[in-house]
């Protein structure tokens, strides 16, 4: 067996050569080179020669024990990071025994009610050695508190923990719609987490500013870019307003983009994202630390592009989209499984998706050279065009916000502007497909083979819900109810004082086995609940 960790430039390696033996340089063309401001060509000089992207596969279903088994399988198969999908009740801050949770427990992610579930989720995994991403937004501070509590109970101090909390609430109002509280108190929770991790968890990314969901909801590539960066600027403004110095927290802000079907549009989008972020952080927000200027991002292939018809064809779509992410200089990558238009990924489909990344990394040679498409007339034009279109959006938001991007984003959420733009683009696309102006293989053309027998899908049964309800009842039975009530009173008091960081009270509360739902309801009492105006 070859060792995938021994890179071509290791002492025993052959050096970076093409398949037929031609030696290649780490970069071609003129400056600014990769690793140089404004980082259009990449954040590191050597890019994947120095370190391959992290192959981070998103997983979560059923009970914590079910997902833990999938985590172990992905790590055995060569995955290099963990990424947790929570079920809908957890994402919405509701316990498994809440009436709204009926039928949704463990179905689209893993159910987590108390820290006991978190213990099972990471059983047998050394949290000091692995990096973990958690896709959670409304209740994000509570899940972070649980993760820290689990690590510390296992003897790993919080400063050693490495990972990412999605914690990007603004895009929830715009696109994914998994919010609980109104925007302003929610952004206060985001800044509480930023302050907490900046002080105590230097290896942790407190926010993953996400365009992925904006794009999945139907936006154009340019709007994905623009809305995401605007949300990033909004968090920077909020954290600075809360008294943090930009260079203290900005180096740990991270991003998350979609990689869709139009190859060069995607590559242009990634390159433009780096250039805009670096320029704005330096010139507008006064950042001087080079790390504050470097936009690092995770990429996921476009779930929405996957077809239920001839699902094996999705393997090809995913490979091409993943290639765009790598050519665009991503720091980590999730490749979708080909069965995701039908169900949650089966183990076999998830393995093929991971293997796709391994083929790109180890067989194609694209990782040998940084920004291999830089200098292409088309790619450079597309990069400039993406930047121009994003700038138009920033001007509009500044206008809405009286010069503040943060206020402009609030205004755009409350007026339904973001959601309207996204819905318009989604419908435009569907009409084009319907009219046959766009070909989607297997959907409106090349449909022979659509009736072929389907592969085995992952099913989550009602027994998961029953099991989780039993577990939750057991934890509630065994805990100290007075300690829970005391901890909730402190959370309410701290929530009422915007200058107090909620994280310490949350940490103490999850340790005494308070549930996610109990904490969220206590916070709703102070912050209120957000209901969007439904527009089509």
């Amino acid at each position: 067996m070859a060792n995938p960790d021994s890179r071509p430039d290791s002492d025993s390696g052959p050096g970076f050569r093409t398949l037929s033996g031609i030696p290649v340089d780490s970069v071609y063309g003129d400056g600014p080179l990769p690793g140089e401001f404004p980082y259009t060509r990449g954040v590191h000089a050597e890019m994947y020669r120095s370190r391959l992207w992290t192959m981070r596969m998103f997983a979560g279903f059923g009970t914590a024990g079910d997902t833990n088994a999938r985590f172990h399988e992905l790590l055995r198969a060569g995955g290099t990071g963990l990424s947790t999908a929570f079920d809908m009740p957890t994402l919405m801050g509701r316990d498994s025994d809440h009436s709204w949770a009926l039928g949704e427990v463990g179905r689209a992610g893993v159910a987590v009610d108390t820290v006991e579930d978190m213990v099972d989720l990471f059983a047998g995994i050394d949290l000091g050695a692995v990096s973990t991403s958690m896709t959670i937004n409304g209740p994000a501070p509570i899940l972070l508190a649980m993760y820290v509590a689990v690590a510390e109970e296992a003897g790993v101090e919080r400063a050693r923990l490495s990972g990412t909390l999605q914690n990007d609430i603004l895009k929830e109002y715009q696109a994914q719609k998994e919010y609980v509280f109104p925007p302003r108190p929610s952004v206060r929770l985001v800044t509480d987490v930023i302050r907490f991790t900046t002080a105590e968890m230097p290896r942790w990314n407190p926010v993953s500013i996400s365009g992925y969901h904006i794009r999945e909801a139907g936006s154009t590539a340019a709007h994905e870019l623009a809305f995401t960066l605007a949300n990033g600027f909004a968090y920077v403004e909020a954290a600075m307003a809360a008294g943090l110095a930009v260079d203290d927290f900005a180096p740990r802000l991270s991003f998350f983009f979609n990689s869709h079907n139009d190859f060069f549009e995607e590559v242009g989008k990634f390159r433009a994202a780096r250039r805009i972020w670096a320029t704005w952080m330096r010139d507008r927000y006064g950042a001087t630390d080079e790390r504050s200027l470097k936009l690092r991002f995770h990429t996921q292939t476009a779930g929405v592009s996957l077809t239920a018809q001839q699902p094996e064809v999705n393997i090809a779509r995913v490979a091409l989209q993943a290639m765009a992410g790598v050519m665009g200089g991503t720091q980590s990558l999730h490749t979708d499984s080909h069965d995701e238009a039908l169900a949650l990924p089966s183990e076999e489909a998830a393995r093929i998706a991971l293997r796709t990344q391994q083929v790109i990394a180890h067989e194609t040679g694209v990782a040998h050279v940084a920004d291999p498409l830089g200098g292409s007339h088309y790619v450079e034009w597309m990069t400039d065009e993406m930047e121009r279109r994003a700038t138009d959006v920033f001007v509009h938001l500044e206008d809405l916000g009286g010069g503040s991007i943060l206020e402009g984003v609030y205004a755009g959420i409350e007026s339904g502007w973001f959601a309207g733009e996204i819905a318009d683009a989604a419908y435009r696309y569907e009409r084009e497909v319907n009219a046959g102006e766009r070909i989607v293989v297997g959907v409106n053309a090349f449909t022979e083979g659509n009736d072929a027998e389907r592969a085995k899908l992952l099913r989550i049964g009602q027994d998961t819900e029953d099991l989780q309800l039993k577990r939750l009842a057991g934890v509630k039975q065994a805990r100290d109810d007075r300690a829970v009530a005391d901890s909730l009173r402190r959370i309410v008091a701290d929530a009422g004082d915007p200058t107090t960081n909620l994280m310490p009270a949350l940490m103490d509360s999850v340790r005494v086995r308070t549930t996610v739902g109990e904490i969220v309801e206590a916070l709703e009492g102070v912050f209120g609940t957000y209901v969007e105006q439904a527009v089509i």
């Binding site: 009740p89 949650l344 439904a534």
Partner: protein, 135 residues
């Protein structure tokens, strides 16, 4: 088929799932297909949907689910409408594996629309559901 009065459709996300791209697209497809759409949006319950059906005198309910909860929530919606004495069919849109279709049909779900359904199919499915009322 020419209607004297347009079909009135209540569209809702039943449950906690927030993915509303598909439902919004369907809303516009039905509107462009000549129907009157009452769009309730996110986080609806069976009772909020029934209230809307009664107030709006709706002919059909469309619920969207991408959270794998359809086997629980689909029949729940059908039964709740029946319990309320309403002869109003239910169409489900979202990610529903083929093998679940017979179960949903047996539970009284009038139609299921998967990802990528063309506008003509969406409109036809809703019309067929309305035409099948009272059977």
């Amino acid at each position: 088929m020419a209607d004297a009065t347009p079909v009135r459709v209540v569209l809702a996300k039943l449950g906690l799932d927030g993915h509303d791209r598909g439902l919004k697209v369907v809303a516009r497809m039905l509107r462009d297909g000549g129907m009157e759409v009452i769009y309730l949006g996110l986080r609806q319950t069976t009772s909020s949907i029934i209230d809307a059906v009664e107030q709006e005198d709706a002919d059909v309910v469309g619920i969207s689910m991408l959270n794998a909860g359809h086997l629980t929530l689909g029949p729940l919606m059908v039964d709740a409408l029946a319990d309320a004495g309403l002869d109003v069919p239910v169409v489900i849109g979202g990610i529903v594996p083929d093998e679940d279709l017979p179960t949903l049909a047996a539970a009284g779900v009038a139609g299921v629309l998967g990802p990528g359904s063309p506008a003509a199919d969406v409109v036809a499915c809703v019309r067929a559901a309305v035409a099948g009322r009272g059977r």
